[in-house]
Amino acid sequence: MKVLAYDAQKCTGARECEVTCAQTWFKVQDVAKSSIRISVKDDGFAAQFCIQCGKCIEVCPTEALYYNKQGIVLLKKDLCVGCMSCVGFCPYGVMYFAPEEALAFKCVACGQCVKACPQEALKIVELDEASTDVWNLRF
């Protein structure tokens, strides 16, 4: 499966990834619209984003969420009724909600943030199964 990965050791907290994500998908600078969130830790930085585990697919009542062939969980916008089940039941708190569209959104491993990161702290990787290891992978 294709999934975003993050190397905390390389990250300097530039937050270009957040801005790029919001800009790419919502055409805004507001990082509340980003599917990747960088937080400050005592010893540096951490990132939260979808690991493509698929738990949200089970709770979606409209079958709007699904795995594509590359193992990425995607949302069919025309089926989503904005019910936030996936938001509340995401084990990692990385499914988000856009009130003005009444739609859920998440990281789809599009790679735009990878290009934007000045430190090359983000990368698209291939894994056999979903793992939180991608939040701190050395590469």
Partner: protein, 718 residues
């Protein structure tokens, strides 16, 4: 399939779906299946302010439709259905309820009942805050609200099957031009049982995308399904456009999303270690109620049974299909609407069919199970399925059968009168046989079809039964059968059941733990306060389109540190936020209570207008208050004897059993009278249970025709 189906359109009304604004379509739909008249009625600002929506709208429309002498089967009686301004919100769990009102065939006053399913929200998204259906059709018809075609029709569809599980599949196939259109279709139907019985329920459908089949939730109390079939309506149907999560166009979507995210995480965190509603629904209550002596067994004689564990939540968790998003409306992750899939029927016209059985819910398990002495889960499933597809209220049916079982055991009925059935407690085969008879309008099924109150009259008039005994053991008040909690040791709950508008359904108040276990409301004034606050708070859910379960069935333990944990303040605040954010009408808890008080008092006056709704109608049967029989007394002798010592200063050892029972009866019934006085006073009513003119003025519902009803009654009292 569509081409071959005969659709004979009797009446057609074209319309354009208006934009829904802040939870309201701002119009209601009137359909007369007798005359063919179909029209739109505007919703005024005053109607929204004073009646909110849901049951409030229902009652206001029904009030103007009926006369003082309207009966359930009068042509002018209506079925009115509305969800309310928050109905159809998908971001807060339990926001898809529909409220039904009609003049009831069993209580002969206003009944209201609620159901999940998709009808109410899809009706609103199709442009209608409520639908009122009046008149009686000549032949069976469908009423179809088709937002895609932009029309409302009354149609004869002679090929349509009658029982709900067949009708649903058939109708969805007929109406959906593409498979995905099924997602946005909903219907309300009954079945052959409702044609031959006063206990008819309404099935509210939803399309289950995972199962690719139609599922149903029931608005059952008070016989609305009987009214539907008496009007010769097979189904009310809505065919809606696809919709998005902001279809209500709320005033503040961001605020809704914030609260929605909080409650979804709360459910995700706590349900699995609390009631496990997501795994087994309300059936978790069976064993708990048995542990607290609150599970009705053998027509409410007893409150627990060792075999309760055979039908408890842990069992049903192994039986209902796991892992599916079983909400009855989108976003409900409490997801209590479970189902047993692939159940093979053993009896009746569909014997051998493999079907989906919706539920079973706690009330159903208690009613067709434990209170009939039945602890066989397969029998409960079979009864549940047939009640639903025949369009029969499981609670009323179970109570009626348990009443007849007790009549059989004491000799009022015998095998000659039952047509050879050995109608003892626990005989599931007999209950099933009577249910099939009922659906055919035959045999003992014709007596079961009457409900408990009219069955009482029947056995008194035809079989010479002792009227006092029959009155004592038949678990009904106002003509409605009791829901499934034993209230003998909770005076407050006796009031919670009988000091109600429609009858003994616990949707107004469930006070047993506060009263009997916690001892939090020891005085009459305390109980009266609880019988004011909780009925008003709980009424409000039915004005807005909300379900009560997400309020109190999963709760972050931080609630225990709050000032009034029983009210669950952080959830109350959620509802304040959601209502304010949808409607743009900023409210607080006091205004919420006031909204309910208007509708509650209006309903009380409505009942008075129909000739009831007074003190004399608010008495419970003694089976719900204390021990009727020696067997019951003996089963709890230690408790009852102790109560004689502590409450009355009597020495039970020096008394005969009859004396002890008489002392209990005198004491318990006298306390109930005092409770009535306290509750009526708290509610602003006279000692006869009539809302005062001052109260109606204070609430702003002093409409001339409302005051006229009350003033006439008050003059008669003077």
């Amino acid at each position: 399939m569509t081409n071959k189906i005969i659709r004979h359109v009797l009446a057609e009304f074209p319309y354009q779906t208006p934009r829904i604004e802040r939870g309201y379509a701002n119009q209601t739909l009137y359909v007369n299946v007798g005359t063919g008249e179909i029209k739109a009625k505007p919703v005024s600002d005053e109607m929204k302010l004073k009646f909110t929506g849901g049951k409030g709208f229902d009652l206001w429309l029904l009030w103007h439709a009926v006369h003082d002498d309207t009966k359930w089967d009068s042509p002018e009686n209506e079925i009115v259905i509305s969800t309310g301004p928050c109905g159809g919100i998908t971001q807060y769990p339990g926001s898809g309820k529909s409220l039904v009102t009609t003049v009831s065939p069993t209580t002969e006053i206003i009944t209201d009942s609620n159901a999940g399913g998709h009808f109410g929200p899809l009706l609103k998204f199709s442009g209608w805050d409520a639908i009122e259906v009046q008149g009686i059709a000549e032949k069976d018809v469908m009423v179809i609200v088709d937002a895609i075609e932009g029309k409302v029709t009354i149609e004869e569809m002679p090929d349509a099957p009658n029982d709900t599980h067949l009708l649903g599949r058939w109708l969805y196939d007929v109406l959906a031009e593409k498979p995905q259109e099924k997602y946005y279709i909903a219907m309300v139907s009954a079945g052959t049982g409702a044609e031959h019985s006063l206990l008819g329920c309404l099935n509210f459908s939803l399309y289950d995308r995972k199962r690719q089949d139609v599922r149903y939730k029931q608005a059952a109390r008070g016989g609305p399904g009987t009214v539907l079939r008496q009007k010769h309506i097979k189904a009310l149907v809505v065919r809606a456009q696809p919709f998005k999560g902001d279809a209500n166009h709320p005033a503040d979507m961001e605020r809704i999303a914030r609260v929605g995210a909080d409650i979804q995480r709360e459910i995700a965190t706590w349900d699995s270690v609390q009631n496990r509603m997501r795994n087994r629904g309300t059936s978790y209550l069976v064993e708990i109620m048995s542990d607290y002596d609150l599970l009705p067994v053998n027509n409410f004689k007893f409150g627990s049974h060792p075999q309760a564990r055979d039908i408890n939540g842990a069992y049903w968790e192994t039986r209902v299909t796991q892992g599916l998003p079983d909400g009855c409306w989108y976003g409900c992750t409490v997801a209590c609407a479970h189902a047993v899939d692939g159940f093979e029927l053993q009896t009746g016209p569909y014997k051998g069919h493999k079907v989906i059985v919706d539920g079973p819910e706690y009330e159903t398990i208690g009613a067709i199970g434990s209170t009939c002495g039945i602890f066989d889960p397969d029998a409960i499933l079979e009864l549940n399925f047939y009640c639903d597809t025949y369009g029969i209220d499981t609670i009323s049916y179970g109570n009626t059968i348990s009443f007849l079982m007790e009549c059989y055991e004491v000799g009022i009925l015998d095998q000659e009168k039952t047509g050879g059935l050995e109608l003892t407690f626990g005989n599931a085969a007999a209950s099933l046989e009577i249910l099939h008879q009922l659906a055919r309008g035959e045999g003992l099924g014709k007596i079961a079809a009457l409900g408990v109150r009219k069955a009482k009259t029947y056995v008194i008039e035809h079989y010479g039964a002792d009227p006092q005994f029959v009155q004592d053991i038949g678990m009904e008040n106002k003509g409605m059968e009791y829901s499934m909690y034993m209230g003998k040791e909770s005076l407050a709950q006796q009031g919670g059941y009988a000091l109600t508008n429609k009858g003994p359904q616990h949707d107004e108040a469930w006070l047993i733990f506060m009263d009997q276990v916690n001892n939090q409301i020891p005085t009459f004034e305390d109980k009266a306060e609880a019988l004011h606050y909780f009925p008003m708070w709980r009424t409000w859910f039915g004005l807005c389109g909300f379900c009560k379960l997400p309020w109190n069935d999963v709760v972050d333990p931080k609630n225990s540190k709050s000032a009034e944990p029983a009210k669950i303040p952080h959830h109350v605040q959620n509802y304040v936020d959601i209502f304010s954010a949808v409607t743009g009408r900023e409210v607080d808890i006091n205004e919420i209570i006031a909204m309910s008080e208007r509708v509650y008092n209006f309903q009380r006056v409505f009942n008075i207008r129909l000739g009831k709704g007074l003190r004399e109608h608010d008495y419970p049967p003694y089976r719900g208050v204390g021990p009727v029989t020696e067997e019951e007394y003996e089963s709890r002798r230690e408790r009852y004897d102790q109560q004689l010592r502590e409450w009355l200063g009597l020495d039970p050892d020096a008394m005969t059993l009859q004396e002890k029972m008489a002392a209990h009866r005198h004491y318990r019934t006298e306390r109930y009278e005092r409770l009535m006085d306290a509750v009526y006073e708290r509610r602003g009513w006279t000692r006869n249970g009539v809302p005062t003119v001052e109260k109606l003025k204070a609430l702003g519902i002093d409409f001339p025709e409302v005051l006229a009803v009350v003033e006439k009654k008050l003059r008669a009292e003077d």
